[in-house]
C-alpha cells in the first residue's frame, strides 16, 4: 500500500490545483477565525466544551445507560455494535427484514469508517448519498476527501463532467448554481421515493435519549421525514449529558467548521413520527480501547468540525486521499493508528508539528502532542519504515559524538559549496521541490568561539 508521502507526491504533481486546494482551505480557516473572533467568550466556550467531553468520557457507562433507557422510552430501537462488521450487519438485517430497496443516506463519517456502502453493495443493496459533495464523489466511485467538504479535491469542471455523465447536464456548463439545481431535482426524486433513511449523529443527549443532526442542505431531514424507517448511526463518544450542553457545542461546531454562525438545520430527533420506525445503532469499533489510553483518549472528544484539516499546512498541500483513510487530516492521524498501528504508521509523520491544529480545535484536543507521542509509540512498537529507523539510528550516532558531528557539519558545508551536485540527486528527499541553501563559511560553533575571544 502507498504511504502518505507517496500519495502526496501524486497529489502535488498538478501545481495549479495544489495551490487552489491550499488557498481554498486557508480561506475556510480565515472564515473560521472571523466567526470565532465575533464571540468574546470563545476561549471560555472551548474550555466548557472540553470539560463536558472529558467528564462524559470518564462517566461513559453511566451516560450510555441513561441514554439507552430514555431512547427506549421514546419508542426508539437501540442496537449495539462491537465493530464495523456488526454495525453493517445490523443495518442490513433491518433492510432485509422489510424488503427495502430505496435507501438514502446523509453524511456520516461512522458509516464511512465502517465501509457501509461497500458492504451493502456486496449484498446487492444500493444506497444513495444525499449530501451534494458526497453524491458527487459517489458518482465518481471515490471516497470523500474531507469530512465536512467531501468534494473539496474537485474543480467545478470535474463536477460538470461527472453530472453530464450521470445526470445528463449540459456538457461544459460549469455553473455551480446550474449543477446544484440539477442535483436538487435528482435528489428530491430520491427523497420522495425513499423507504429508509440512514443518518449520522452529531450529538446524543443522555438526559432525553434524543439525537441531533446538523446539515446545511437539509438532506438529513428530507430523507428521514419522507422515509418509513430512520436509522441513526453513532460512535458512543457522541454522547453529551444534557440538552443545555448543546448550546456550547452548536455555538462551536459550525463556526469552527465553515465560519457560519450555525448550520442551517440543527435537527433534534426524539421519537419516530406516527407510523415511522426509528433505530439508533451505537458503535464501539475500537473506541473503548482508545478510552483506556491516557495519552490518546482525549481524541475521542472530537466533534468532526475539520478545523484541524483546514489549518494544517500538510493537509492543505497533500489532499485528503493521501491519508488513505475515512477521517484524514491531523485528527485522523491520531485516531487511525489506534485502529491499525501498522497500516497507519505513516500518518503521525504527516505533520510539521506546528501545533496549529491544537490551537483551532474547539474541544481542545492536544493533537500535535499526540502526533509526537504516536511517533514514539510507533517506533517502540517497531512500526517505523526501515529508512526512518536507519536515519534515526544514524542521527543518534552522530549527535552523540561531538567531534564526528563537527566533522559532518564541515563536510556538508564543503560539499554544498564545491560539489552541490553531490546532494542534488533524486533519492535525497530534501532535494525534492527545494533549492539547496547557500552554505555559510563557518559553523555557529566556530563563530561563537571566535567572537567570544573578542
Amino acid at each position: 500500500m502507498k504511504d502518505h508521502a507517496t500519495l502526496a507526491e501524486e497529489f502535488i504533481r498538478d501545481d495549479a490545483r495544489t495551490n487552489w486546494h491550499d488557498e481554498t482551505l486557508w480561506f475556510v480557516r480565515q472564515k473560521r477565525d472571523k466567526a470565532a473572533h465575533g464571540i468574546p467568550e470563545w476561549e471560555q466556550l472551548r474550555e466548557w466544551a472540553s470539560q463536558i467531553k472529558n467528564h462524559t468520557l470518564s462517566n461513559m457507562d453511566r451516560y450510555l445507560e441513561e441514554f439507552e433507557k430514555n431512547a427506549l422510552d421514546n419508542g426508539v430501537k437501540v442496537h449495539w455494535a462491537a465493530d464495523a462488521t456488526e454495525h453493517n450487519r445490523i443495518i442490513h438485517d433491518i433492510i432485509k427484514s422489510k424488503g427495502i430497496t430505496r435507501i438514502v443516506k446523509s453524511k456520516s463519517m461512522l458509516t464511512e469508517e465502517c465501509h457501509l456502502n461497500h458492504y451493502l453493495e456486496e449484498q446487492g443493496v444500493e444506497v444513495v448519498d444525499t449530501d451534494l459533495g458526497e453524491r458527487i464523489v459517489q458518482f465518481r466511485h471515490e471516497p470523500p476527501s474531507h469530512i465536512v467538504l467531501p468534494a473539496i479535491h474537485l474543480k467545478k469542471q470535474d463536477v460538470s463532467d461527472t453530472f453530464h455523465e450521470h445526470l445528463q447536464t449540459e456538457k461544459g456548463n460549469n455553473d455551480p448554481t446550474y449543477l446544484t439545481r440539477a442535483a436538487r431535482v435528482h435528489l428530491r426524486e430520491k427523497f420522495i421515493a425513499s423507504q429508509l433513511a440512514i443518518t449520522g449523529v452529531n450529538f446524543a443527549i443522555a438526559e432525553t435519549g434524543g439525537v441531533v443532526v446538523c446539515t446545511n442542505e437539509g438532506n438529513a431531514d428530507m430523507g428521514t421525514h419522507a422515509a418509513d424507517v430512520h436509522i441513526a448511526c453513532m460512535g458512543f463518544e457522541k454522547l453529551i449529558p444534557k440538552a443545555s450542553h448543546l448550546s456550547v457545542f452548536l455555538r462551536l461546531l459550525a463556526r469552527s467548521a465553515t465560519g457560519q454562525p450555525v448550520t442551517t438545520y440543527s435537527s433534534h430527533f426524539h421519537k419516530p413520527r406516527a407510523g415511522q420506525e426509528m433505530h439508533i445503532v451505537i458503535v464501539d469499533n475500537g473506541r473503548s480501547n482508545i478510552l483506556g489510553k491516557a495519552d490518546f483518549r482525549n481524541a475521542l472528544k472530537c466533534i468532526r468540525c475539520a478545523a484541524c484539516f483546514n489549518t494544517c499546512p500538510v493537509y492543505r498541500r497533500s489532499g485528503g486521499f493521501s491519508y488513505h483513510t475515512a477521517v484524514a487530516g491531523p485528527i485522523g492521524s491520531i485516531l487511525n493508528p489506534n485502529f491499525d498501528p501498522k497500516k497507519y504508521s505513516d500518518l503521525p509523520f504527516a505533520s510539521s508539528l506546528c501545533g496549529s491544529c491544537s490551537n483551532v480545535c474547539p474541544v481542545k484536543i492536544d493533537i500535535h502532542n499526540q502526533l509526537w507521542k504516536w511517533r514514539q509509540e510507533l517506533s517502540k512498537g517497531g512500526h517505523l519504515p526501515l529508512s526512518k529507523k536507519i536515519m534515526m539510528k544514524g542521527m543518534a550516532f552522530v549527535l552523540g559524538r561531538p567531534a564526528l558531528y563537527r566533522f559532518g557539519g564541515a563536510s556538508a558545508r564543503w560539499v554544498l559549496r564545491y560539489m552541490p551536485f553531490m546532494v542534488k540527486f533524486k533519492i535525497n528527499p530534501w532535494n525534492k521541490q527545494r533549492e539547496m541553501p547557500e552554505a555559510p563559511r563557518q559553523s555557529f560553533r566556530d563563530w561563537y568561539i571566535q567572537n567570544k575571544k573578542k
Binding site: D61, L64, R188, S247, F269, H270, R273, D284
Partner: protein, 191 residues
C-alpha cells in the same frame, strides 16, 4: 456475552477516574444591545430575510400581499386536515409553507420550530419557500438562553432553522437552495 455487555465491560475497565466539569456561566456570554437588529443582520447575511411588522393583524395582511405561488400551506391558519398524513409526493408540490416559530436566537439567526408547529415534519424542508412567524418577545441573545427556554423533547421532533437550505460543495461557491427551501423569511411581530 452480547455486544452490549462487551462494550459496557470494556468501557468500565478502560474509563479514567471521573472528572468534574463546570456548567456554562451565562454572565460570561455575549449580549447584544438590540436583539432584533442583531437577529435581522445575521439572518440576512446567511441568505434569509427578516420583516419587522407592528402587529399580528398587519403580519397577516403582509403575508397575504406577497407572492407565494399556487400551493400554500399555512399551519398558522387554515390548513388541510390530513396535513400530517400527506405523502412526500404531495408535499413536494408545496410552493410556500407558513409556520409559527418559537424562540429565535440573535447570535445566529436561527428559529426553533417544533413538530406541533409544522404539523408535518417534512413541510418546512420540502417547501420551495419558508415563512416563519415569530414574536419579538421570543428573541434571546444566544443558544444558551434558547435552550433554557425550550424543552427539546416536548414534541418528537424539533429543529433550529437558520436561513434557507444551502450548499457550497461545488468549488466552495455558495448556492442557496440545495434540497430544501430556496428562500426563508422571518416575519417578526413586534408586539
Amino acid at each position: 456475552m452480547s455486544s452490549r455487555e462487551k462494550i459496557f465491560s470494556a468501557i468500565r475497565k478502560n474509563k479514567p477516574e471521573s472528572v468534574p466539569y463546570t456548567e456554562p456561566d451565562l454572565t460570561l456570554v455575549i449580549n447584544y444591545p438590540d436583539l432584533l437588529t442583531q437577529f435581522s443582520t445575521v439572518l440576512t447575511a446567511i441568505g434569509g430575510s427578516c420583516k419587522e411588522i407592528a402587529s399580528a393583524e398587519e403580519a397577516r395582511q403582509f403575508i397575504a400581499s406577497i407572492d407565494k405561488g399556487a400551493f400554500v400551506i399555512d399551519t398558522t391558519g387554515d390548513y388541510p386536515l390530513d396535513l400530517a398524513r400527506l405523502s412526500p409526493t404531495e408535499l413536494s408540490a408545496v410552493d410556500t409553507a407558513i409556520i409559527r416559530g418559537g424562540v429565535a436566537v440573535a447570535e445566529n439567526g436561527s428559529i426553533w420550530v417544533t413538530e406541533e408547529n409544522m404539523v408535518n415534519r417534512l413541510l418546512p424542508f420540502i417547501a420551495q419557500q419558508l415563512i416563519l412567524l415569530i414574536y419579538e418577545k421570543d428573541l434571546v441573545p444566544t443558544m444558551h438562553q434558547a435552550y433554557e427556554r425550550i424543552s427539546v423533547n416536548e414534541t418528537g421532533f424539533g429543529v433550529f432553522i437558520a436561513g434557507p437550505s444551502k450548499t457550497a460543495d461545488i468549488e466552495q461557491s455558495l448556492v442557496i437552495g440545495a434540497h430544501g427551501p430556496c428562500g426563508m423569511m422571518a416575519v417578526v411581530i413586534r408586539n
